[in-house]
């Protein structure tokens, strides 16, 4: 009776079959991964806006040229905590029409802080920056590689990639030999993705101290005193980073990458605190 010949190539074929078996099993696990991502995404913001009426009323006032009235309407919504990118965008338009370009730029920056991909806010911000000559820090190499407009979805994606990497590492200890190669690949890819997203988010969060010059123009001083020497003149809408606060003076990193003191009323932080 002829018996089957077991060769090394046959052994390899069996190993490949076992990898396929892993992916079949992984397919079942994808349900788990999908559940994981869905769970994370469900915590993303996006609640329905509960201030449609006042918002529309302010819009009507804007369209009728009553910009002051529109601004008041938008600001009431801001005070009520009904923050949305579109709200700050419209408020920026009203401020621009009322001749306050610095405040309008601040509003557009806030709209972009809430929705980094807001196209209208980006366009108007560019127009106003050109109009006012607002100063910004010169781009760094980190801006090129890490300066994507990362929003909440990036955070959720980073968290999902992190969890997939953790799951992969855990499964590596209990997986069969044939499953381990694919598991290593998935885990490594997830780890790299997670690490990159964390780096992007870390870089983006440098903006948490960003402030905008809302005065028509202000002069940063070398010391916290009006009589101190001039550090830099900042047109409306210029971007600074607040390093320290000392009463009525704020110690800031200026667009020229030199520190200076700015009077508190001249600038406002981009990110509002919930309180």
């Amino acid at each position: 009776m002829a018996k089957p010949e077991i060769t090394a190539s046959r052994v390899r074929r069996r190993q490949i079959r076992s990898v396929a078996t892993f992916f079949t099993a992984a397919g079942r696990r994808l349900h788990l991964a999908a559940l994981l991502v869905a769970c994370l995404l469900s915590f993303l913001p996006g609640r329905a806006h509960g201030a449609a009426g006042p918002f529309e009323a302010a819009n009507r006032a804007y369209e009728q040229g009553r910009f002051s009235e529109a601004k008041i309407g938008y600001e009431k919504l801001v005070e009520a905590g009904e923050w949305s990118a579109n709200l700050f965008y419209n408020l920026g338009n009203a401020d621009h029409r009322l001749g306050a370009p610095g405040r309008a730029i601040l509003d557009y920056e806030r709209a972009l802080a809430l929705d980094p991909a807001h196209p209208e806010a980006r366009a108007n911000l560019e127009v106003l920056r050109q109009l006012t000559g607002a100063k910004r820090r010169a781009p760094l190499w980190q801006d090129k590689f890490l300066g994507w407009p990362a929003g909440d979805a990036w955070v959720a994606g980073g968290a999902a990639a992190g969890w997939i990497a953790i799951f992969g590492l855990a499964l590596l200890f209990t997986a069969k030999r044939g499953e381990k190669t694919a598991l290593w690949m998935v885990t490594a890819a997830s780890l790299v993705t997670c690490a990159y997203l964390v780096a992007v988010l870390w870089w983006q969060h440098q903006d948490s101290t960003t402030a905008i010059v809302v005065a028509q123009s202000t002069e940063a001083r070398l010391q916290p005193a009006d009589s101190a020497g001039l550090a830099e003149t900042l047109p409306a809408g210029s971007r600074v980073q607040i390093l320290r606060e000392r009463g009525e003076w704020l110690y800031c990193m200026l667009p020229g990458q030199k520190p200076g003191w700015i009077a508190r009323p001249a600038i406002e932080r981009v990110r509002l605190s919930a309180s």
Binding site: K3, L36, Y62, E82, L114, E126, P149, V155, A159, H205
Partner: protein
């Protein structure tokens, strides 16, 4: 008969006589000296004969060349002393608010013979220049003058100083004539009406305008005035005038009778200085032939006024006013075209709309979409270009560019309407653009994209592209939808997000527990049993009491198990060939395996050929070493 002789002479202040600086020769100087002193000698002789003659009455009088002047223009003051034998000093003239400057003196000595002797008297005229810095009425007070050792007084004298423009009465030829010419006497609210301000100045006057005139009038808005034109000279009432025309346009903002003007045109004119000697008629400034000669003329600022003109303004009719009427009044034409002619849904079409004609372009606003359904429009940009030759901006072309985005399938470019009021026909006119063909590809988007171009999703691994900047420096309009509510706190710092991490953490723990605690599968159990059997067989093989059939049977079984563990096959089906193949290049092991399988077959099936009582110690050791080596190599599975 009385004989009188008079000698006129002029003295410097110390009364000395000098040789002319140019006459330095001895002979020349002697001749000049003789001529001068000769006169004095004659006078001395006559003076000696006058002893005993009666003295004349002394008179001291002050007079001004004009009693009225303007600021900065000097007036001549003279102190005339008559009947004196001699005059001691130059009178010191002062007056508050006036600058009085001594300019010279003239003396006139006369001799009278007869009546018992010769009498001589001196008439002296002291001349001053009086200038005022401010307008008003001044009085030059009485001043003491020492004459023949006695004090005499001048009488007080009044001087009126007027502002420069008040000098018009004095210089009528320099005064210009201003006229306001309004193209229409009746107009509509919002209608732009051309206005000219014409200035006529006597062509003999050298003059230059100083500033643009201001046209006053309530309820009107005025266009910026361009540089005036100077068409040349015109004749009015037999006099030649230089003509200067300022053009502008006014727009009445309310109905009723309104006044256009008055206005004032300011210019500088060259007027002659007053002559120092003797009064002069104010009307003879051109007769002396010195006008225009800067040595004798001074620049004077003159303000010429133009009277207001009345304009009747009618309100725009209420009936028939189109809904999109923005206040444009005039006569206009309208055209529009768009590009590109084929787009996808969500891609912008740039509409270029031109409004040409004549009217109030500042009230011409962008045409309106006739049917905005299915279109999303963005705030337009407008640029006005005046027609060549129209400096005021009454006629020209206003061009609007507007991005519109089709949100559904369309076959035509959007249609726009523009309405205006025609004051000639006194009716409203609505103009509509011609619809041009347009192809829109793609399906209707489920959610309208507010940006002119599609924008990458926020999760895309590249930055969202900035939408195209508007064609002008204007911003994009407001958004209708408030959008989802968001927080400035980063997601990873929010409590709800951190709580959400508990879920995958729990899932991970459960998965690990399941993996660690689940029962081994059948393969693993079978392998485990094989390993246990192999261990038992190896222990049996080491036993010296085992018979040869049992020894080789056990040895072959060990080889089968090792092969089955390595390949996953059934141990019972493993034969010598399969086991040997697994041994590979290890020929010594392969030979032992062949030998074991062969001996087992011989003992089991042939029943002899070998010493059936025992296995030699060497054979046992050699076989055991080979099997252990084989097992180590392949028995890990």
């Amino acid at each position: 008969m009385r004989m009188s002789a008079a000698i006129f002479f002029r003295q410097n202040r110390n009364g000395g006589q000098e040789c002319p600086p140019a006459d330095h020769s001895l002979e020349g100087c002697a001749t000049t000296t003789l001529r001068r002193w000769g006169g004095w000698l004659v006078a001395l002789v006559l003076l000696l004969g006058s002893v005993g003659a009666p003295a004349a009455d002394v008179s001291v009088k002050a007079s001004l060349s004009r009693s009225v002047t303007v600021i900065g223009e000097p007036v001549q003051l003279q102190i005339k002393v008559t009947g004196a034998k001699r005059t001691d000093d130059i009178p010191d003239m002062t007056a508050e608010g006036l600058e009085i400057r001594y300019t010279g003196m003239q003396s006139h000595r006369s001799f009278q013979f007869g009546g018992g002797g010769t009498r001589s008297e001196v008439s002296t005229i002291f001349t001053y220049e009086v200038t005022a810095e401010k307008n008003g009425k001044y009085t030059i007070p009485a001043t003491n003058v020492d004459v023949d050792g006695q004090a005499h007084q001048t009488q007080p004298i009044a001087l009126t100083v007027q502002p420069s423009s008040a000098d018009d009465a004095v210089r009528p030829q320099a005064r210009g004539i201003v006229e306001i010419i309004v193209a229409k006497k009746t107009a509509y609210v919002g209608e732009m009406i051309p206005v000219e301000i014409r200035l006529y100045v006597d062509s003999r006057v050298n003059w230059q305008p100083v500033a643009m005139p201001e046209l006053s009038g309530e309820g009107i808005t005025k266009q910026k005035m361009p540089e005036p034109s100077r068409p040349g000279q015109v004749t009015r009432n037999g006099i030649e005038y230089d003509l200067l025309i300022f053009k502008t346009a006014i727009t009445p903002g309310k109905a009723g009778k309104i006044s256009v003007g008055p206005t004032e045109v300011i210019y500088n004119a060259q007027v002659p200085r007053a002559r120092r000697s003797g009064p002069r008629s104010p009307f003879d400034i051109f007769s002396g032939g010195i006008f225009g000669d800067e040595m004798f003329a001074q620049t004077q600022q003159i303000k010429a006024k133009g009277e207001a003109v009345e304009l009747t303004v009618k309100p725009l009719p209420v009936t028939g006013k189109p809904r999109d009427f923005s206040g444009a009044v005039g006569k206009f034409q309208f055209s529009a075209d768009g590009s590109p002619s084929a787009v996808k849904i969500g891609d912008p079409v740039t509409m270029k709309m031109r409004i040409t004609g004549r009217g109030n372009f500042d009230r011409v606003e962008a045409p309106a979409l006739r049917d905005p359904a299915g279109w999303r429009g963005y705030p337009p940009s407008g640029v006005f270009k005046k027609d060549d030759g129209d400096e005021v901006g009454l006629s020209g072309t206003k061009t609007f560019e507007m991005a519109v985005i089709p949100e559904e399938q369309k076959t035509q470019m959007p249609v726009f309407t523009f309405s205006y009021f025609d004051p000639e026909t006194e009716k409203y006119v609505v103009l509509t653009s011609e619809p041009a063909p347009l192809r829109v590809d793609g399906a209707k988007a489920p959610v309208a994209t507010p940006a002119p171009k599609p924008v990458a999703a926020p999760t895309a691994p590249e930055p969202a592209p900035t939408p195209p900047a508007p064609t002008t420096k204007d911003i994009l309009g407001p958004l209708d939808d408030a959008g989802p509510r968001r927080s400035f706190t980063p997601l990873e710092q929010r409590p709800e997000f951190l709580r959400a991490q508990i879920v995958p953490g729990v899932v991970l723990l459960l998965l690990l527990a399941f993996r660690l605690r689940r029962r081994p599968d059948a393969t693993a159990a079978r392998h485990s049993a094989l390993r246990r059997e192999k261990s038992a067989l190896l222990a049996k093989l080491r036993d010296g009491q085992i018979t040869p059939p049992e020894f080789f049977d056990a040895a072959a079984r060990v080889a089968q198990i090792a092969t089955a563990l390595a390949t996953g096959s059934d141990a019972a089906s493993v034969d010598a060939t399969a086991a040997r193949a697994l041994a590979g290049t290890d020929t010594a092991t392969a030979e032992v395996i062949d030998e074991v399988f062969a001996a087992r077959s011989e003992l089991l099936f042939a029943g002899g050929g070998r010493d059936a009582s025992r296995v030699t110690s060497d054979d046992r050791t050699r076989v055991l070493a080979a099997l252990e080596k084989f097992g180590r190599k392949n028995g890990k599975a």
